[in-house]
Symmetry: C2
Subunit: 614 residues, 2 copies
């Protein structure tokens, strides 16, 4: 068994060990469920009037280490379900008793509200449960399906992280328990690495950086999930969208424009209304009886543009591009920073093509995605999302089969790192999801390429084939950044706000040593030159010390800061200060004439090189 | 009396002359009202079962000319109101009788539903009417306030235009009459000019051109007033917005981004909810109880960005720019092409400044507007819109007084052609409206610059003044294009779709003489070069004759068309065909090497010169 495969039983064993420690410290503790979660484990406990707080963690961890040091074996045994219920009653474990009663009554269907494995239950098969398994480590026994590690000494490195309220079985109205979270890894090094990553992630929190770097804001008057972007944040949005568009425009995509609203008829025709009708924002006209909605996606609108002209096989593919904002009625509780918003701007595109053009089109889009993510310094991995056997999918199963094969062929020919997953497809077709790994090792779902055999048919789209027959085109949906807001939440943390020159809201800041007329005139002349070159250069001519002005520029993580004094005004070379993370190659640092310096920055921006190591 | 001043009595006299002709042709005709309207006049008539149609116009015009040739004097006389009523009864004119009875009963208040002048009534003063004036020309008499021209021979040139149904006194349920429209001018030349303009306007109809040039479309599934833009139309939108933005960015405006939706609280705070609440699209969340609306304007959102940071007098002015779509719940019946839409994209901007910065900021915006409209080839005129004494305006009247003075000073110092109008201000401040005249002489309201002393105060905005006190800034709203959709409706008709190179969706089309490999390769190489230079160049390599391909390019009004044959492929110079309306200066036409030709087009696009005469 590899270390990775062993992590699950290790973490689950630590849940038991934590429960052991809790029971020793609070003998009246009543236990709920204690499953494994990402990076660790938790256990729900009920201490009655008493409450565990973070200040108790040291005590609990000490007790856990005592259990670990004893190296108790995890001993498995089984009891008939009625004896198990008696055990729970005898040990004053009402939550376990409830679970066991449910299990007895309904077999494995108890798993409907909580996964049987998470419940720590031995759900042996599909029908009536007869035997329930237990694990015993030293003085602590828990009903549990397992598996566990051999003994308490073999659990790797762990740390308790936090405690939070949790309703029993996740249901409001049920007793409120306390959920104790811990993280665990095979080695101390891996744990430390993870904790360092968490620290780093906290420092990089995009909500915090969004504020300190003055990038975006929310307002109670406007509402949650509806971010607004300052001039600095808008530079990031616009530059990213322009790059993403450019990668597709050069292969023939053309921008289109559609409104953010439509009659709901459009989605009745597309099939979205039946599927997602209750996730849409409804719009009420006070002047008419029109039933309108805000668009949650752009494909149905784009089919209208396609359908506005007669198309021939020679016109195909028709490729539309639109960076536009979609609205989705997310629950307020699920909103957080830019990660999940109600107003999401997609760098969306749609190809309408002949079946024989699918693979070429997908190849092009995958090349674009690869270039984009390499430019922003993130590793890509690809998930091929197929349908499963459920009835959640529309369209001819045979078409699905063919389409899935074509996607895979394209991925293989691109040599991309990929994996396949059933049941993750959109309802209208299989798709390719791109997963990008950020600077601190977290993986995020970003771009998607989706095939669609359903919508063109539903909308009656066609082109005249070479033989003169009206033929239904295939649609390919693609967003490279995905939602720009969500991408920014990832990218701001990826870079810790140290944006490369092409994205930096301020690329250069000039700092004047004084406020004399010739200094100001010189700075203004450089600013004008830079503006004409398309550079974002600002002047700090405030009445502050040079040191204070430099520190102010550092706070905004500006790539280049240039102090303007007598020498520079007299025609001497500029000596830019370079942001500390930026790798300066020999010959690039040091002094340069004004025009040369500006040209260097312009080239750096234009080529989108990144000198940063995030 | 100038000819212009004389037009009104001429047109009004023609209404009488038309009635004279109608009465001669249909002696039982009963007459309603016959007022002067823009460019002409009408008369509402009731012929019972008979109906006038356009085929009768010749007959009516002939009879009118007979009356004109007789040169009857218009003789004025007065009767006491009761005698006037008797006259109406004796002459079987029940509509006139009704009007006279109303007039007798209520004095001038009869004018509530139709203007007294339009009724042709002698409403002598505010109180009880005693005498009613009549005008007689030959055998026709009508009650009428006048004035008229001296005699029927002095009425200039006229033409009957159309006939349409109209309810008596505009009220549904009243008898339906027929409204006969005519146009009239002082001279035959002016009339012909006007009729030519109408013909030309019909040919230029932007809805028609939008279809034939493949610029935009509507869809029943999406809904009325919600246009979608094809790739060609999107080029127009994007290029116009980019130019408009650039004119402001160079003087320090910065782009921001805000969502299209907000809680209605924002507009309660701004004061818009109370004023315009029933003109907004209401948005219903199915997940929360949030009361949301679509934004009909952007200023309240922009105040939130301003308020997100502490501002000092040194930071002012703060200048935001956002091209974004607003939604207004227009009645379906009022929607037409791009002229009036429910989704209107504004090239909006807001300045937050100190009171002492107002004039400089307004000067800058007016210079930007002047450059924009000179570039698109339209003459500008400026309307200064002030408040009147009604209670429709918010804010301190003294601030209004000051603001109006500052606007006027700025207009005067810019040397702009202007006029002043009371009662046209926005509810939050006085404004400057820009009126542009198009190629066929029609004037359209376009850009606006609006002062606002109300919103900053309502939102509690402030900056720290030099003396350390928190001071309220002034806001300046400005859109240069106004609504891009509406601007396009004007601009497409202004140019008749013959867009200058900087705006042309396709700037150059290459036409291949055949489909051989080296021809295609050459064309593709030129296309790639052009793309890299930011040009919009397409290749028509379809299997059609060169003549047919040239005609196809002409239909799209493409500025340059270049036929690619053996000579060109062999390195010979290109010989572009230039769109017929484009003035070609000596030395510019004729042959040029590929690189030179592309560079010429690129320069033409970059400098936004227009070689067209629309």
């Amino acid at each position: 068994m590899s270390e990775q495969d062993n992590l699950h039983p290790m973490r689950h064993s630590l849940a038991h060990i934590m429960a052991t420690a809790v029971q020793r410290l609070w003998p009246d503790a009543k236990f709920g469920v204690g499953p494994v979660v990402e990076n660790g484990f938790y256990y729900d406990i009920d201490l009655g009037e008493q409450k565990v707080s973070e200040s108790d963690f040291k005590k609990i961890e000490k007790e856990m280490r005592a259990v670990i040091n004893k190296d108790f074996a995890f001993e498995r045994f089984e009891l008939p379900v009625d004896e198990a219920i008696a055990w729970a009653r005898d040990n004053n474990q009402p939550y376990k008793e409830e679970l066991l009663n449910d299990l007895k009554r309904a077999g494995t269907t108890v798993a409907k509200d909580l996964d049987a494995a998470e419940l720590g239950l031995a759900a042996n098969g599909e029908s009536q449960v007869e035997l329930v398994s237990f694990y015993k480590n030293g003085d602590f026994t828990d009903l549990c399906r397992g598996p566990h590690v051999e003994s308490t000494g073999k659990v790797g490195a762990f740390k308790l992280m936090r405690v939070a309220g949790a309703y029993w079985r996740g249901k409001e109205g049920n007793p409120q328990m306390q959920r104790l979270y811990g993280v665990a890894f095979a080695t101390k090094e891996e744990l430390d690495q993870y904790l360092t990553m968490l620290e780093e992630a906290k420092k990089r929190d995009h909500r915090k950086l969004g504020q300190t770097l003055d990038l975006f804001l929310f307002s109670d008057m406007v509402g949650s999930g509806l971010p607004m972007f300052t001039p600095r944040g808008t530079v990031l949005r616009d530059e990213l969208a322009a790059f993403s568009n450019q990668l597709r425009q050069r292969s023939g995509f053309q921008k289109v424009w559609t409104p953010h609203m439509t009659k709901k008829e459009l989605y009745e025709a597309s099939g979205h209304w039946a599927k997602f009708g209750d996730e849409l924002f409804l719009v009420k006209s006070q002047e008419t009886s029109d039933e309108l909605v805000l668009k949650p996606m752009n494909c149905p609108h784009h089919t209208r543009i396609y359908a506005s002209q007669q198309r021939s096989y020679r016109d195909m593919p028709v490729r539309y591009l639109e960076t536009t904002t979609d609205y989705r009625d997310e629950k307020t509780g699920e909103l957080g920073g830019l990660n999940r918003v109600r107003a999401l701007t997609q760098d969306d595109s749609h190809v309408f093509c002949r079946p024989d053009q699918i693979e070429v089109e997908i190849n092009g889009l995958m090349a674009a995605a690869a270039e984009l993510y390499s430019t922003v310094g993130m590793d890509l991995r690809v998930r091929l999302s197929y349908r499963d056997d459920s009835d959640a999918y529309l369209g001819d199963p045979e078409l699905w089969e063919t389409a899935q094969g074509q996607l895979k062929a394209a991925v293989l020919s691109n040599g991309l790192n990929y994996f396949e997953q059933e049941g993750e497809a959109a309802f209208y077709g299989p798709k390719i999801d791109f997963m990008a790994t950020d600077a601190i090792g977290r993986e995020h779902q970003v771009a998607t390429v989706q095939l669609d055999f359903v919508q063109p048919d539903r909308f009656g789209l066609s082109y005249i084939a070479e033989d003169g027959s009206a033929t239904t085109p295939v649609m390919i949906h693609c967003a490279l950044l995905g939602s720009i807001e969500r991408f920014l939440s990832v990218y701001i943390e990826h870079t810790a706000g140290r944006f490369p020159v092409w994205l930096a809201p301020e690329q250069v800041r000039l700092i004047t040593v004084n406020q004399e007329a010739d200094t100001l005139a010189f700075a203004e002349e450089v600013r004008r030159q830079a503006f004409d070159m398309g550079l974002r250069l600002t002047v700090d001519n405030s009445n502050e010390s040079v040191g204070k002005k430099i520190r102010a520029a550092e706070l905004y993580k500006i790539p280049y800061t240039v102090v303007i004094g007598e020498k520079e005004i007299g025609g001497g070379p500029l000596t830019p200060r370079v942001r500390s993370d930026m790798a300066v190659k020999e010959g690039e640092a040091g002094s340069a004439a004004v025009a040369d310096f500006l040209q260097t920055v312009a080239t750096e921006a234009k080529t989108r090189v990144s000198k940063s190591s995030f």
